[in-house]
Amino acid sequence: MNLVVYILRRLAISIPILFVGSFLVFCMVAAAGDPLGELRTQPGVSQESIDQLSHQLGLDMGIVPRYFDWLGGFLTGDWGISIAQGSNMQPVFPKIMSAFEVTIQLILAAEIIALLLGVAVGVLAAVKQYTPIDYIATTMAFIFFSMPIFCVAIVLKMYGIDLNVMINDMGWDSWLGNPFLKTTSPESLSGDGFFDSIIGYIGGLLLPTLSIMFISFAAYSRFQRSSMLETMNMDYVRTAQAKGISQGRVIMRHAFRNALIPVTTLFSVNFVTVVTGAIITERVFAWNGMGSVLVEAVNKNDPNTLMGWIVVIAVAVVVANLIADLVYGILDPRIRVG
């Protein structure tokens, strides 16, 4: 019950921030120049159609009414029109939603693997401190942590292409598909039948997921290692050991659960980094996700798409924070009760 109150309180803080944040971003986007500037100089575009577009974008209103007009539409699912394709206008909502679906698929797959692997490796490195396992894990984490994500993606893409050639040489392409690892945007992930669909998903998602996963994994494992080391030095862990409880049980029951709490915080802090990483990875693998939508919208100065994009990501950040808070509450009883 208290957990619900706690989450509601967190939400109550987030919503005004989202509101103020979206207004400030709206002003910034509005100050980014006339979105129809290019169209106005084009020959063959009548003044009438420009006026109509200008009205549709709300450019004939002041900034505050324009914002509330946009907000009203946004909350009811009408996110305005995109002018990225010139006078050929598309509604923003379906465009962003389909892009977001692509990106969130990538992020979820990568984050789940990164969390599981990162926590496992972090705990292992802490329990086996100053052994070769620890040194290897720490070094790997350090290297991936310092790598720019697009470099990881580029190198993976390069090896992916080599591996595809190898698979074809071995004659495995008959059942793994050709190319097995998709290094550019796959048209569709699923294939005919169950087996082909699985192969399709793995081949299509593997390289981009790995790129994002490595970076996140590095952060999680480093964090988990140090938090696990800290808990292992706590008095209550020593007490548990002194009482004669087996080491495995001490690690899992007494230390591990408490050592998970800081990692939960990292998950919410890390989320924005992961989104950024996904955007960049998509660029390398030519996926049509949030990354390409953003680049196009910025270059074409497309206000409604920019607003939709930014607010969707901001809401995703809020949701990620909420999930972290929820897990935090489950792990730490003091928050539930207090």
Partner: protein, 305 residues
Amino acid sequence: MEAGVESGHGKNSGGSDPEALPEARSQGRMVLRKFLRHKLAMGSVVVLALIILGSIILPLFYPHSYADASFSSYVEPSAEHPLGTTQVGKDMMAQVLRGTQFSLLIAITVAMLTTIIGVVLGALAGYLRGFTDSAISRLTDLFLIVPSIAAAAIMVRVLSGSWYVVALVLAMFAWMPIARITRAEAMSLSQREFIEAARASGAGTGRVVFKHLVPNMVGTITVNATLAVAQAVLAEAALSFIGLGVQIPDTSLGLVISENYEQMQGRPWLFFGAFTVLVLISLTINFIGDGLRDAFDPRQRKVKA
């Protein structure tokens, strides 16, 4: 063992009153000594220094200019062009050297700005509490919620892609973590007697914060400022890589990579030059930051002993 005790003592009483001044200096010397013994961090300092000096000095002696596009397209690596030439016939080595200069310049500017903004806001919030704290905390939340890559991209497009615009915009969206860390530390420090003493002897907010609080957080600030450089290198490279960061005539390693990475399959040298330098910069700065953290941490000795 003795060293550990000494540093712990120095950390606790360093700068608390004028009498302790020599001790405060001895803490600095302790940190330096510990840092100098940190092999990985010292190795990183050497590598990073070589990269910085190389990016400044080498272009003076290097025969080709970065702007010279008169060579043939895609010349393979040779003594004349150590990293080959690009599609438009520019010497790759010259591009990498210039990209390194700009990447470092941007990253150091960003780190300095984020540290200043973050420390000032964080220290004020942690010390003053009350309204100031909630205002600054809400501001921090606000900036954390806005996806920085999009906001930065829009601002860079409007204000031009000069290196200093990119640096300013990146700093605008990167000060929050430092502010949070500083706030937490300022909160716990302001409970201590020496702050109370300073206040009792009539020091104003500015004096307490900048003469008493901030100098006592020098360890945290140094470590986080160092790590901020590494993060700025990566953030700038990412922004420039998707084409929304630094624009020609300025450049950066991210831009150099972005322009040439599609050639990695047939002509890997066009990719790996800039890639290696970028990873080395980020890796060495992270190692240095880690070494500094160990050096500043008085508990470090206990764990290892």
